[in-house]
């Protein structure tokens, strides 16, 4: 190596490599500057409003101590019960979305004719938006909807089943918008698992149940955790369908309704901010628990080019 031809490359101390090389080894170089626009964007749109809301939540509208807004929320059971109501909707529906997706995606993981068509059809509910879904649900599951009429004319039931304007209406709405999302995610996680692993397991004497339980499921678990978290977060902030197809004054008065009413109907921004903070903490707690569960599993490469 000639130093003469490269005047910039000083001979380093004999004790170690150049500082620049040491930094580069940790991924620190001039290209990091490219992150700046993104960081500015995140700070303006996320960090700043978050910190603003956080400070606001410690400044109750009618004076009082910094934690008064929080205390008000937890002391009033009409408000604090929204946490439980929301969790009761979000956790079962997210679980349902994940658990129902797994067997279907498992069956459909290979290549088959019409796979692209199926995935396209499944994306449609996501694009519809909650309002259209709610309208559809009203028509389909309402007291005079097709579903109840069909059951009644078949003589299965005498009175329409109460399927909307209650807990189940919101549940169905969350499933309709969340299931395709969960299904597509899980399908892509599954196709990332090298198909030869299952073939290997079968030559070792494992039937499909053993193959699923001992090979596919453990490799899929991290993907399931991620999918659960995403659908949970979507369900936890459910708002339009809780009003449109739920029972928004009682059983489906979810936490986002509480926040909405505080902010828009009572103009109590401090109280609304406190509720928003509580929402965030609960979401983070649930995600944390799920990640804890996930950490028990192998998270490395699943060895595959996929299907």
């Amino acid at each position: 190596m000639s130093t003469a031809s490269r005047p910039m490359a000083r001979v380093g101390k004999p004790t170690g490599p150049l500082l620049r090389h040491r930094l580069a080894d940790r991924g620190i170089n001039a290209r990091l500057l490219l992150l700046v626009p993104g960081l500015v964007f995140i700070v303006m749109l996320f960090v700043y409003p978050f910190l603003y809301g956080l400070t606001l939540s410690f400044q109750p509208m009618d004076g009082g101590g910094p934690f008064d807004s929080y205390r008000r929320f937890f002391e009033d059971s009409f408000q604090s019960s929204t946490i439980w109501k929301t969790l009761k909707l979000a956790i079962p529906s997210a679980l349902f979305n994940v658990l129902a997706s797994v067997p279907i995606a498992y069956r459909l993981r290979g290549k088959f004719r019409g796979k692209r068509f199926l995935t396209t059809v499944l994306v449609i509910p996501i694009t519809l938006g909650t309002v259209l879904t709610a309208e559809g649900l009203l028509n389909f599951l309402g007291p005079a909807g097709w579903f109840n009429r069909a059951l009644m004319s078949a003589g299965v039931i005498n009175e329409p089943l109460p399927l909307i304007n209650n807990y189940w209406g919101v549940f169905f709405s969350i499933v309709i918008s969340g299931f395709p999302f969960a299904f597509l995610l899980i399908l892509s996680y599954l196709s990332g698992i090298d198909p030869s692993l299952e073939r290997a397991a079968s030559t070792l004497g494992a039937d499909w149940k053993e193959r699923f339980r001992r090979i596919t499921l453990p490799l899929l678990a991290p993907g399931l955790a991620t999918t659960f978290c995403l659908t949970f977060v979507l369900a936890f902030s459910v708002f339009p369908s809780a009003i449109l197809v739920g029972d928004p004054t009682n059983t489906t008065r979810v936490i986002s309704i509480a926040a909405y009413q505080a902010a828009i109907e009572q103009y109590d921004w401090s109280f609304a901010s406190a509720i928003a903070m509580i929402m965030g903490v609960i979401e983070i707690a649930v995600i944390g628990l799920v990640q804890l569960w996930r950490s028990q599993f192998y998270v490395g490469s699943t060895g595959g080019k996929g299907a």
């Binding site: 090298d194 030869s196 692993l197 073939r199 290997a200 397991a201 079968s202 030559t203 070792l204 004497g205 494992a206 039937d207 053993e210 001992r214 090979i215 453990p218 490799l219 599993f297 192998y298 490395g300 490469s301 699943t302 060895g303």
Partner: protein, 389 residues
């Protein structure tokens, strides 16, 4: 679970098509217990297809497979009790080496103590004692390969299937593992079907070889049979007959010369041995191994004895103990030979080949047209023009 050994495994006109395309057709093969069979052929010739059909990973579209008197081609892979080593190893990435090896034993519902004993033994067999607790991702390619082999043989399967198990390893490791697989085969007496595209590997390891081309069997035989008596030029090509060129039969065939035939190569008469029945006037392919071409001194009395080809040296490669030399005849045929004599490009040499080492195969029409190497131009009929220099 069928771990029972067999005395023979018969494949009867086994075929597999993908839509219109026949990936494998009419495979008839009887595998005797304890045999090491190699399926040999170029990439895409249907080797993996054949192996997957045997393993039960691919349903057949024709034929049947029999284990003695039991038909097995309708059984799912987990019921066949064959071990398989995959080309990409297919180790379970979330299980340690030890647990990968335990897997098959646990599937057989063996008592815990037996599982532990047999997997310890298997780990020792492939020298991985220190790595038993590691995940496959933490091992080198060669070590992963050993795990894959241990995982398959720990069940003492009645048949072990290996799909190009050494193709992802470097040259040195490949040689080592080759010996090791052969050693394992001999010490455990496992019946093995081994897929490879490497003729040297197949010749050195197998008891019998099955040469495939475009989904069809070309020849089945021992390494020696294939080495000395390939039945067509495709097999010859695979068996190291690097010099293959078209010719016309002018004498012999069913004539007085018996097995001996005389061929015409662009005016040059050569005497050879017919590798298959062939008649006068037929187009043929002539095959000569590089090591069977001898350089003779210009005024050697052999010059008049026939089977002498005069050619000019075009490329010399140093290869340790000898030189690999490429020469070209006046009519443009390219020949390869090996010699300890130091030659230079441009030298003119006389080459002789013993008549019994010059094989004449029927059907030289489909010989590949040689491509002109860099720096030379090909004439319209594919023959090479003389070098400008």
């Amino acid at each position: 679970m069928t771990n029972a050994s067999f005395s023979e495994l018969r494949l009867e006109s086994v075929g597999r098509s993908f839509g219109e395309q026949e990936a494998l057709a009419g495979l008839d093969l009887t595998i005797r217990s304890g045999e090491f069979i190699a399926l040999l052929g170029p990439s895409g010739c249907g080797k993996s297809t054949a192996l997957n059909c045997l393993a039960g990973l691919l349903p057949l579209t024709a034929g049947s497979i029999w284990m003695d008197s039991r038909r097995i081609d309708t059984l799912p892979p987990e019921k066949r009790g064959f071990g398989m080593v995959f080309q990409n190893y297919a180790l379970f990435p979330h299980l340690t080496v030890r647990k990968n090896i335990d897997f098959g034993l646990q599937m057989r519902h063996l008592p815990k103590a037996d599982v532990a004993r047999r997997s310890t033994e298997a780990v020792r067999l492939v020298h991985l004692e220190e790595h038993a607790g590691k995940l496959p991702g933490q091992l080198s390619g060669g070590q992963q390969q050993r795990v894959a082999i241990a995982r398959a043989v720990v069940l003492e399967p009645s048949l072990v299937l290996m799909d190009e198990p050494l193709s992802n390893l470097d040259a040195k490791l490949r040689l080592e593992m080759r010996t090791e697989i052969r050693r394992l085969h001999q010490s455990l007496g496992l019946t093995t079907v081994y897929v490879t595209h490497d003729q040297e590997e197949a010749l050195s390891m197998a008891d019998r070889l099955v040469v495939l081309r475009a989904g069809r069997v070309q020849q089945i035989g021992t390494p020696a049979e294939l080495h000395t008596q390939p039945v067509n030029w495709h097999v010859a090509d695979f068996m190291g007959f690097r010099n293959l060129f078209p010719a016309t039969v002018v004498n012999g065939g069913r004539g007085v010369l018996g097995d001996e035939v005389v061929v015409d190569v662009d005016g040059l008469r050569l005497v050879g041995a017919a590798a298959a029945p062939i008649t006068v006037g037929e187009k043929a392919a002539v095959g000569i191994r590089p090591e069977d071409l001898q350089i003779i001194a210009p005024n050697d009395p052999g010059t008049t004895a026939g089977n002498v080809i005069r050619a000019k040296v075009s490329v010399v490669e140093y290869q340790g103990r000898e030189f690999a030399v490429e020469v070209r005849t006046a009519t443009g045929i390219r020949l390869h030979l090996r010699t300890p004599i130091r030659l230079d490009a441009g030298d003119v040499v006389d080459l002789r080949v013993p008549a019994e080492r010059l094989l004449v195969f029927p059907g030289g029409n489909d010989l590949p047209v040689e491509e002109a190497p860099l720096g030379e131009t090909a004439s319209a009929d594919g023959r090479l023009l003389r070098e400008a220099s």
